[in-house]
């Protein structure tokens, strides 16, 4: 455990020292070395950690609150979240070396970057509610400064403002939930929270509060508004870190609060709520992602969709618990946990490659890019692997976690004849398949419009991107493939964690032998993958044999039914590929098209624009904004009135109080 704090201390020190370098390059290198040392320390100490049980340490520092003891605890669940944190922040800081320009802003962003990583680690480690809140706010603060990196532009300032507003709004709900728990256990330690036996209604109220609080950080539907605004704006190594890990810390909070309010899950209301939130956010988010043309906005919406899938897993698990389906409960929850890890891997891969893509072309809109695979095949392959694993193509890691959740849903579907359970299981299966098919379409669209076909940007404008920015992407894509193929060994970890989370609920442990039933099908799955690769390589050889007999292939123009002047703009762009979908969803989303109006005979150049308003944002952000600004105008007009009116109000208040005091008593 002490090695953890050594690592974090080194991280903070390098962050602070990186401020005082003259050239930003050195501070970037320094912050990367800090991250690397921290990564090595924590991974090394966690190897030892696996030997003995979860160990917790309480430091007796004089804290600023009597109840706040510096008590830390590492268990399997927090370790599952620590791993991606240290991994991705090291890779992101390595990526930042070649990505960020050499200005003073980079120095401050290095400091904030290290502070963000250490505060995230400390949030995962802390096991005292107030300490948790302290680091939670620190995390929000440091990520705010990272998002507002080049905040000269107005919309970046607006995005970072909305971001910190939502996270601060969530903190109050968390404070409410923790304090209600404190009322019943009058101690702020997480152990005492777990042990309490609250009545069903109070614990469900507490859980709802904590759900909304952590939801504002996790970013599912009702609270997702800041996500598609903040991520495209942040520098891409920061948005990789944020959407890869920061969102998962919100999910970590929700998982912790499930262990706190155990009795909330005796009835099916709360699990159904989680499930429905997951389903709604998955479907709506992925439809929005489909229509986006800005590559980072698209990735942000797809992280909301993946959070929806994770919530579906958790909801299904807790629903199975309330219906005593222990096997599918553990499996669904472990599927959700594995998806958390997988998502952090391939989402940061996609964000990093999108960042270097934007740096290469200087363009955010995918319709303006094209044919980049030939220019930079390394980047293309990484992006292809990332998008394949996010759309859960069998060989990659996205498929494994979806397979576990689907397996649990199928198992529930067969083994119970209670209509509710069957319909819920069927609903989850259908949503998962529907959503993963649309994700495939979305990422086919992005990959094709960006990397394949003719290139719409002439060559000299393309900037070279260094090898250092490709290395982290290749490492991440290697992890994706590794998890995809060696799934049998990797699946044990999330299963053990979900067993540990849910061991409070499960009475019989006859569940354990059922897992062999699951492992057998997984083994068959890997055999199928191996056969697939064998056949593929055999066919490649056959093809080479068939073609080598002739001399080389002839290269001509693609078949254009003899059109004389084909140009690269004749290709299908992203928005045209999904145009059938935009008409289909137009009624719900209200997509507005600004069609050009031709005023004169010889029409001047006009432009066609498609705006996809996020109706949720209007509902949640604009309406309260209007009310508050109306009220504030009303009240600030009060300040304009002459002095007499103020004195009149004083006297009025006096009279009211006197009358109240004499009548009441």
């Amino acid at each position: 455990m002490t090695l953890y704090f050594l690592g974090i201390a080194i991280l903070l020190l390098t962050g602070i020292f990186s401020l005082c370098f003259s050239k930003a390059k050195y501070s970037l290198y320094l912050s990367f070395y800090g991250q690397l040392v921290n990564f090595l320390l924590i991974s090394f100490s966690s190897l030892i950690f696996f030997k003995k049980a979860a160990n917790n340490i309480t430091y007796s520092l004089s804290s600023f609150l009597p109840e706040l003891t510096f008590s830390f605890r590492v268990d399997m669940l927090s370790f599952l979240f620590i791993l991606p944190v240290i991994l991705i922040s090291t890779l992101a800081s390595f990526y930042a070396i070649s990505y960020l320009p050499d200005t003073s802003k980079t120095k401050t962003s290095c400091f904030w970057f290290n502070l963000l990583t250490s505060s995230m680690l400390l949030v995962l480690l802390s096991s005292n509610a107030l300490l948790f809140l302290f680091f939670w706010e620190l995390m929000a603060l440091s990520s705010f400064f990272l998002v507002s990196y080049d905040a000269q532009k107005k919309e970046i300032r607006m995005a970072s403002w909305i971001y910190i507003l939502f996270s601060h709004f969530g903190v109050f709900f968390i404070i409410g939930g923790f304090y209600l728990l404190y009322l019943n256990t009058n101690s702020f330690e997480f152990e005492s929270f777990i042990g309490t036996d609250l009545s069903h209604s109070t614990s469900s109220i507490i859980f709802l509060l904590l759900l909304t609080g952590f939801g504002s950080k996790a970013g599912f539907i009702p609270f997702h508004i800041w996500l598609p605004k903040a991520h495209p704006v942040a520098p891409s190594h920061v948005s990789a870190l944020m959407s890869g890990i920061m969102i998962k810390i919100g999910i970590y909070g929700i998982l912790r609060s499930t262990t706190f309010c155990a009795s909330a899950f005796t009835s099916t209301h709360i699990p159904l709520l989680i499930l429905s939130i997951g389903v709604i956010s998955a479907i709506i988010a992925i439809i929005f992602a489909l229509l986006q043309n800005d590559i980072k906005k698209l990735l942000a919406y797809s992280s909301i969709e993946n959070i929806g899938i994770i919530l579906i897993g958790i909801g299904l698990g807790t629903f199975a618990i309330s219906k005593k389906q222990n096997f599918s409960a553990i499996l669904a929850l472990s599927g959700a946990l594995l998806h958390i890890f997988n998502h952090s891997i391939f989402k940061s891969l996609l964000f990093l490659s999108a960042g270097s893509l934007i740096k290469m072309t200087g363009e955010h809109n995918i319709n303006k890019m094209g044919g980049l695979l030939k220019k930079n095949s390394f980047l293309g392959i990484n992006f292809l692997i990332g998008s394949a694993s996010i759309s859960s193509i069998p060989l990659f890691n996205g498929f494994i976690s979806e397979f576990m959740i689907l397996f649990a849903a199928f198992y529930m579907f067969i083994n119970s004849n209670d209509v509710l359970v069957i319909s819920i299981a069927l609903l989850t299966i259908l949503t998962l398949i529907f959503v993963s098919s649309i994700v495939t379409i979305c990422f086919v669209k992005t990959f094709a419009t960006v990397f394949l076909g003719e290139s719409k940007i002439n060559n000299d404008k393309l900037k070279k991107i260094g090898a250092t920015s490709n290395l982290p992407c290749t490492i991440l894509s290697f992890i994706c493939i590794f998890v995809g193929l060696w799934a049998i060994y990797i699946v044990h970890i999330p299963l053990a964690i979900s067993f540990e989370i849910l061991h409070g609920f499960i009475i019989d442990n006859s569940v354990v032998e059922k897992f062999s039933f699951f492992f057998q099908s997984l083994a068959f799955g890997t055999i199928i993958f191996i056969i697939f690769i064998l056949i593929l390589s055999m066919l490649i050889l056959v093809r080479k044999f068939l073609l080598c007999a002739k001399d080389e292939e002839t290269i001509t123009v693609t078949w254009d039914c003899s059109y004389l002047a084909p140009s690269s703009r004749m290709q299908y762009t992203g928005s045209s590929l999904v145009s059938p979908f935009t008409e289909f969803c137009n009624r719900i989303l209200g997509v507005k098209f600004k069609t050009p109006i031709f005023s004169s005979i010889y029409p001047k150049p006009t432009k066609f624009e498609m705006i996809i308003p996020d109706f949720m944002e209007k509902l949640i952000l604009k309406e309260p904004g209007k009310i508050i600004s109306f009220l504030s105008r009303f009240i600030s007009r009060y300040e304009l009135l002459p002095i007499q009116f103020h004195i009149f109000l004083m006297v009025l208040l006096l009279l009211i109080l006197i009358v109240w005091s004499f009548c009441m008593i």
């Binding site: 000269q152 403002w161 507003l165």
Partner: protein
């Protein structure tokens, strides 16, 4: 010892009124403030005996507020020295907000400043109810000309508003005094000193005491800046020079808060603290919400700070009204943190004002380039005042929320958190606009930051961050003793 603490500033004030040269006056000002700070620190080591037959006693809470006040006064004197020395006289530089920087009658200003410090230390020291009233009234006298430093039409109007509302408030608190006397008429005691009054409080007349409390809470509430009576605060702070407004919101509001705290302790001893607590919580939440809403559409950053002091005073009043021992400690801690951060914020807003010469937020651009150091202090101060972790206010907000939840007043918690979120949103939005926004027009750096002007706000902010990270054990149990013998 107490007499010394009060007399030094007042004598210094009178003496500086008659000196001719300006830098001699500044010398007197700095000496008096240094001496005052040293004396108030000394009071902690060997507590002084009472004088004026029991009228002036320096008890624990008085010492704390006295030290806080004198520290703030010393910091603003450092700022004042560099501020007053470089404003050259009768050089009518009129900037676009109508400021005339010719403060010819300099001597009135400095003497009034010192007398203001004397009167405030009188408040901390006073033990008799009537004496407390006199000293609070004296602070209004002393601070009125300070607000009128710039001799512009709007500062005149702000002073008139300040004096008018506070005098009505003081009149009401005098009625409160009379009712207090009526309540204790036949309760066996004649002199109403705080130390002795708590023994006889039980047999005082409950009804009359409650009306007395109402008058007091309204009267002293105007000085604290509670909701309906807070309107003098924004105009006074916008017009007064920055180090005066830092003193106003840092020290003056504390003294009035001290008055309300003493009256609340009397009511507690009389056993009606439940009803009085309800009034205080109602007023506190009302002022938090009005401050949050009226700051939303405000685009003058000094007025924004004034509204945030109204809001933080509201929070402290709520904590004081909860009636728990821990709540009193939380409110005192909140007051300390708030005055430190608010003073540093006002001083750095003074730097911004002297560089940009405008109070309008929309005209302040690319702060990070023009004033690198003081803009950092400004940003850190704003994040501290909004209650984000490294600052002490985050700690005290957690404490107060804990108390609210312990006393099961959930509706208050909801309203308070709503007010805090609105406030946080509007404040951060305005500060981001000032800090990050960039306009190409006036790009040249014309204003070089003076060292003396940065040091005080840096020190004050440093103290809040220290209180934010680790609360020294000695300070905690010192404040716990205060809330014990307050009897709440």
């Amino acid at each position: 010892m107490i007499i010394l603490i009060i007399l030094i500033p007042i004598l210094g004030g009178i003496f500086s009124f008659f000196t001719r040269k300006n830098n001699v006056r500044l010398l007197i000002l700095s000496i008096c403030s240094l001496l005052h700070l040293v004396l108030s620190i000394l009071t902690f080591f060997y507590n002084p005996e009472s004088c004026l037959n029991g009228m002036l006693i320096l008890d624990k809470v008085g010492k704390l507020f006295l030290l806080l006040m004198s520290f703030l006064f010393f910091m603003s004197t450092i700022y004042a020295i560099s501020y007053l020395s470089n404003t050259s006289f009768n050089e009518k530089t009129r900037d676009n907000d109508g400021f005339i920087f010719d403060d010819s009658p300099q001597n009135i200003f400095i003497s009034m400043l010192l007398i203001f410090c004397g009167t405030m230390s009188l408040v901390c020291v006073s033990n008799h109810v009537g004496f407390l009233w006199i000293s609070i009234e004296a602070t209004t006298f002393a601070s009125a000309p300070l607000v009128y430093f710039y001799h512009t039409r709007s500062s005149l109007e702000a002073t008139w508003k300040y004096v008018m509302i506070c005098s009505v408030g003081i009149g009401l608190s005098l009625i409160g005094n009379l009712f207090l006397m009526l309540a204790f008429k036949n309760s066996g005691t004649n002199e109403l000193t705080f130390t002795s009054i708590s023994h006889y409080a039980l047999n005082a007349n409950k009804m009359i005491l409650f009306t007395a409390f109402i008058f007091f809470v309204i009267g002293y509430g105007t000085k604290v800046g509670l909701a309906p009576m807070h309107t003098w605060l924004p105009s006074a702070h916008a017009e007064a020079p920055s180090f005066i407004s830092s003193l106003l919101s840092g020290a003056l509001l504390n003294c009035a808060f001290l008055g309300i705290l003493r009256i609340q302790s009397i009511c507690f001893h009389a056993g009606i603290s439940e009803k009085t607590g309800k009034i205080m919580i109602f007023l506190g939440t009302f002022s938090v919400l009005t401050a949050a809403l009226s700051m939303f559409s405000q685009n003058d950053y000094k007025k924004m700070l004034a509204f945030s002091s109204v809001e933080h005073m509201g929070i402290a009043i709520i904590a004081a009204g909860l009636g728990q021992k821990a709540a009193i400690t939380a409110s005192i801690l909140h007051i300390i943190n708030h005055s430190l951060t608010k003073a540093s914020l006002f001083l750095s807003s003074g730097n911004i004002l002297s560089c940009y010469r405008t109070k309008n937020i929309n005209d302040v651009h690319s702060l990070n380039k023009k004033l690198p150091i003081s803009s950092l202090l400004w940003l850190g101060g704003i994040f501290a005042i909004c209650g984000l972790p490294p600052s002490g206010l985050f700690v005290t907000e957690l404490m107060i929320f804990k108390e609210i939840f312990v006393t099961r007043k959930f509706f208050v918690a909801i309203l308070l958190s709503l007010g805090l979120v609105i406030l946080f949103g509007s404040m951060i939005f305005k500060v981001i606009e000032m800090y990050f926004s960039h306009d190409e027009k006036n790009e040249e750096i014309i204003y070089r930051e003076k060292f003396l002007k940065i040091v005080p706000s840096f020190l004050l902010l440093l103290f809040t961050f220290i209180l934010g990270f680790t609360l020294p054990g000695k300070l905690m149990d010192y404040i716990n003793q205060i809330s014990n013998n307050f009897g709440l």
